[in-house]
Symmetry: D2
Subunit: 341 residues, 4 copies
């Protein structure tokens, strides 16, 4: 609005905008007031200018557009639902992905798979290729790990989610996995993203801990622009000055993503907290906050886990949490189904 | 543990610790394993050393202590309940504090007070002294604002929460307010904290946006060390690189505070988000995550509010949110009562 | 520019802008190119629009203005020089303020004052009122501390810089101090800022560790709007995820402040690093980066200092650093004078 | 020290430590004092314990070790010098790497190469494979770009630095480049790091913008553990809440790296600032702060650059900066040589 615009002029245009069924939002500034009009997607810009620039007091009409196109909510206002062997991510059902950080052995993996299935999980996670900050740490079992995961799927019926670290992992991993995961440290590995755009398997894309929501959506855009539209976003904590937890769960990212994109979003409370004692609280918060699913680390013996032991739940604690998740999910009108093999 | 400690030795000591009813937590390191023992408050350190240093493989026994004493959970393992004109903060009941950012006029304040009361709020917030980042912005009505708040309390029965900015505000404010609020920018105004330690009114202490949970607890310690033990902590968002929202709600802080301190904690989703569209989602997340209460901005006409207009809910949206809050609160075994005048 | 603007049209307008002696800056976007014109302060906005909106391809002309007016570079393009008992801060001379964190005793303070004077410092710092994160830590000597500082000034001729924590400290402190310091935790204590606007003593305003440069300039604006235009800005480190140092020195803030404001800026490497081993490196970086001065902690016996012992230099190390500072200052065309009593 | 240790006991042990030629550092705590002894690398831990645990008041002796071994300063206290076609990085000479963000064309690259050579640069940078946050942005010329760079080297004698994004780029890139660069977004692409450990070309490893110095050193450790010990670290700005610049140059990282590692460190002021107006100031700060080199973006026509146009210097501005760099470098006892073809 013009600096000289009167209160009446401001009110008149707000009424006119709302009369069109649109949301008007007034920001009174010291020098100038700005009225934001929400929800005008699909209207030609020139049409927009013609309509409102004639009101007295209007200084100019701006048009804001985001750099991501395919991931933009405007593309699919009702949201995307991704079907993974019958499980629907992005729909009314809340999906819980559970399992160990790394596939350490056949026995461990099958035991955990059966536990999380019994507790009500919908998918099994487990890493065969492990990105580790220390070159001296356990690096994963590779293809042998994928075979163990496939056996766990045969046993339990749970679809499997596993991480790929590099273009070269993809061809092997797609032969086994139901969902390919991109780790936080690879969110801007653009070569990997492009490669994942050429596969048909859905992608679970973890947010880089130093990356904004907009960067996450741009990374999804990379995969989508290369042909694979089945992208699941994952909030797993960002890096901040707070060191009481390993990362800070950006709970705000849930409504922000829901507002800006049509892609489903899951939350990983285990990596976000880095401490099993906080996992239940964060899980319930994420469900009430509107996420479409959770990815939770469960280990049958966290004390001797080969990676990230501090953050894994025992199967017992996970089973207890699943009951609480069900109650909170229902309180926000979501369902938590049980899976038959 | 010694670098040379065997797996058996590690397991033996873990069993022994657990046999004492304590929690043992193993962290396998490349060079050395560390076993953390939780919950040994009240045991003499020398006693502790005697008990476990005799096990084979033990290298040394350390004792960790936090710099806050009075605010420490160890002081009151069952948590503190603060009674405010019959409302119990920190107990099973979830307390919702609602109202405008600033007291702008008698009419506005009374109208909002009646709306939030009708929607089920338990306390009324409103600022008479306003900290503003610009010297050219509205600075609050001062004592006249406090009188309006008191009138709103007479009308609705809602206890009132209002901010003090400086030692010199306290003497006036205690005559009117049921809870004195310390704003985020004043969390380390140590002179103010000491003064608040000398009053009998409960204090709602907002976390500084650049401050760790530990700093928040140290600020509470200041007030408590000076004599006022009735401190309510408030998470209102921290400053991070993410700019899709004004601040980042540190949802992890809820379980962290619950673990480290006996003080109740409320969450302010309005300042954390800076955008009314995200307030409902964050509110529900906070309730499911275990907070004891919420502080939400409500304005009868956000478009013309004199401060923070973008983040205030209308009374209608607030009433709708209260219904959702009730459902989520019950799903985590908390109650949301209604107040009779 | 219009989305359809040709490369020729873009170049034509850039040439025209530069022909006026202004700086044009092209930002090629996916959807639209933006040309920023710098340095048009003082030109009427309508005049600006008339001039360039006639070029083909131009979509619209925007005018950007910052929320701070008095602190804005536009007000005083040549910069502000603050004269403190003959020392000129903001001029060609680099000013070094040195001394202990707290005034602990007469002996300690006079000894340090003589040491830093001998080493070439231009002002003496020392805290009589100390903001401490723990209520159990040393809180300063109060007015007695100010008297000791005044005695140190008589002895050495060095002007004295001391912190005020609260409105109520100001009346006493102005009777002794040559510069009043506002600590980082009080940068947005607006009541204190307003009070400092009413005194005649120059203010050294430390940046809050969770505050942007823009917030710092708005805090300066508070003091200036209340009447005191002699404000010295101080970068002392911001809070980030990096924990190898206590805070992260925002070295970028030096050119940013120089670009946006006419106020002088000093850097405090001691609090920024929290570790004496890094102080020399950061000090030299700040001088080369263009700061107008440094504020460095020096203690005659850091091992037994009552506050911030880890970051203080010994007088010997400080004397050595002063020699290096002189060399670097001269390499960027600044002078480092010596003070006669 | 024991809680009950007397001041005398504390002083006695400090004297004894210093008598051995070691640095003792006292941290007086509320509950307990800690004396840190620096510089005892190479002494057996048991020897250490025997020596000082006998002093009265000593509670226990701890031994701190970092997770990086090969990159640790303790391995090479005098620092590593990397020889690149005769240029010595990590020695007394300051090395300036300059050139465009992307190789856009033969003409552009040769022209810039000649300009930066004439201005005194020591190496030429240019990207053939470009990581871009948007899939719709220019992605680089690939091998053709490498050929152009090699031609520029033939023309000017400047060694060339170019980025690899993926394992698969390495085999081609090593045939052309003198230094392989790892971008910030790939700092934890562990598969790429391992591959780079198998080549003989030196690696310039950029710090991830969300990563701590310790993470950077762990990434270097990956490359070194796989066999390539010639790693150059690069500080290029971290992500913080400050948005006046694109990233925040962590100037503290220079002394921290110098203290913890023997690897050379260069600073990239262009990406850190994201704004050409701040590049000179940050460059000079980095040199005075003790870096071993700079990597600066230079473009002959920044207004039409295909990437990062806002941050590139023109050849003229770069030539002017080189003169200032020389003066500051000499002020901290470094030399800036000129290169003969």
């Amino acid at each position: 609005m013009e600096q000289s615009a009167s209160k009446k002029e401001v009110e008149a245009i707000i009424q006119a905008i709302e009369a069109e069924g649109l949301q008007a939002f007034l920001n009174l500034g010291v020098e100038r007031s700005v009225i934001a009009i929400l929800g005008v997607v699909g209207i030609e810009k020139s049409e927009l200018s013609d309509k409102w620039s004639v009101f007295p007091g209007v200084e100019r009409i701006s048009h804001v557009s985001e750099p991501y196109k395919l991931a933009n909510r405007a593309q699919k206002p009702k949201g995307t639902v991704i079907n993974i062997r019958g499980q629907k991510l992005g729909a009314k059902e809340l999906i819980v992905i559970a399992g160990p950080c790394s596939v350490e052995s056949r026995e461990q993996t099958l035991a955990i798979a059966e536990s999380v299935k019994a507790a009500g999980a919908h998918m099994l996670r487990g890493g065969a290729f492990k990105p580790r900050t220390s070159p001296y740490a356990f690096q994963g079992l590779g293809e042998q790990g994928l075979q163990i995961l496939a056996e766990a799927r045969d046993l339990t019926g749970l679809p499997i989610v596993t991480e790929v670290m590099d273009e070269s992992d993809c061809d092997i991993a797609v032969r086994y996995a139901d969902v390919l995961q991109v780790g936080a440290r690879n969110m801007q590995n653009f070569r990997l993203l492009k490669k994942l755009g050429t596969v048909k398997t859905p992608i679970l894309l973890k947010r880089g801990f130093g990356c904004k929501v907009e960067d996450l959506l741009m990374a999804a855009e990379y995969i989508m622009a290369a042909g694979n539209h089945r992208v699941i976003l994952c909030e797993r904590g960002i890096i901040t000055f707070e060191n009481a937890t390993r990362f800070t769960t950006d709970i705000n990212a849930i409504p922000v993503v829901k507002h800006q994109s049509h892609l489903p979003i899951v939350v990983d409370p285990s990596h976000a907290a880095g401490d099993f004692r906080y996992v239940s609280s964060i899980s319930l918060a994420a469900v009430a906050g509107g996420c479409d699913g959770l990815e939770i680390e469960v280990h049958n013996n966290p004390k001797v886990a080969l990676s990230d032991s501090a953050q894994a739940l025992t199967p017992d604690k996970f089973a207890e949490l699943m009951k609480q998740i069900k109650r909170v999910a229902e309180a926000v009108d979501r369902t938590v189904s049980t899976i038959d093999k």
